[in-house]
Amino acid sequence: MSWIEVKASFDQSPEDWSPLIDLFVRHGCENTLQTDFPATILACVVEVPGARAEIEALSLELRAAGAREVLVGPYEEQDWEEAWKKFFKPRRVGKSFVVRPTWEEFDALPEDLVIVLDPGQAFGTGDHPTTRMCLALLEEAGIPGSDVLDLGCGSGILSIGSAMLGAKSVLAIDVDALAVEVTKANAALNKITLEVAVSDGIVEHQPPTSSHKPPAYDVVLSNIISAALIRFANDISRVVKPGGRWMVSGILNPNWLDVKKAAEKAGFKLEKRVEEDDWVAAIFLR
């Protein structure tokens, strides 16, 4: 993917950057980076048909808003992904998992379950408390022999972990098409078979090994955000078999009670709760 950078410079920082940021947003640039000394604001646009015209219009408006200079040029892909990879090391998670980035070596013990991962631009490195707690909890979620749904699969780490723990089937879904691609690639790296799909809900999906109508999953995993957990609680309750489990993570402590309330209202009972660094993960029983 090639990117075009648009950078506007000003003689001094405005009292309020908002109108300038708003100009960028209006032309499709929702992410901007600004500096006060020197006063600059920049955004990156994917080089697609029509992008140049949009940038031209944006440049004119920036100049009208007082920009001293607007520079448009190819975005220099500095080695940013690599810079960050340096810090992602193999690590033990829970009792049996080891998460190893593709570019690192690790001397695993015979009983270790080693998940090889290239997270790319998807969530879930095993480095983050929410993923780490979730992976550790996975060992207590009754995965062996289960039909598992991973709602918001990100890098695919939890789906792959479930398959390694002996799940009967795993369906991994995410709203982000990129995440779905990353999950597929990571499953292949680990020689794991997963069903993977792009979806913003759970309704239309059936586990491949199940011929009956919902409730169809023994375990649903969701390491997403609280708002989504609350929104999905009822839907998830409908697809989890009685006695099955819903494992949740990605919850900041202040939001925990709202998630718990939504889960209980949807018919779940709290089985276990863990906390690390202000993040909460939990297992609910249906």
């Binding site: 009292e15 309020d16 109108p19 929702e30 980076l33 940013w80 340096k86 490195t125 609280s226």
Partner: protein, 141 residues
């Protein structure tokens, strides 16, 4: 001893929908931050403000630890909501797309005061009025 600050990053990211697309990913990556960890936290904290673009300021220390502060939504987003408009004027000098009352102006100014670095309500109101004019919204003083 206080930790040395190595980077101070100011980004504007849509609430609840942060991704590592440039310039966000590179700015964080170059500072040595685990960008996905930051974005996850950002998305979780800003989910209630979905629809707004949120300014966020990230302070990175020499040991790669970091702290971040999510600011109030863009003044222009608050103005749009108050004036009931979807977008600012294309040519704010000649085109007027909405009006703000003095009370609306005051309440936006109050919300944004911590971001403007002022404790003077009148000064904050003048800044908001200036931003409103820049987007073609008339202010009733």
């Amino acid at each position: 001893m206080a930790k040395r600050v190595t980077h101070n990053i100011k980004l504007n990211i849509p609430a609840g929908k942060g991704t590592p697309a440039p310039p966000v990913g590179p700015a964080l990556g170059q500072a040595g931050i685990n960008m996905m960890e930051f974005l996850k936290k950002f998305n979780e904290q800003t989910a209630p403000q979905m629809g707004f673009v949120m300014p966020v300021e990230i302070t990175v220390y020499e040991d790669r630890s970091y702290a971040f502060k999510i600011k109030q939504p863009l003044t222009t987003d608050l103005i749009k909501r108050a004036a009931g408009i979807e977008t600012g004027a294309h040519n704010p000098k000649t085109e007027k797309v909405g009006t703000l009352s003095r009370d609306q102006l005051r309440s936006i100014a109050k919300a944004k005061m911590p971001d403007f670095n002022t404790e003077d309500e009148e000064a904050a109101m003048r800044i908001v009025a200036g931003s409103a004019r820049q987007m073609g919204v008339k202010v009733d003083w």
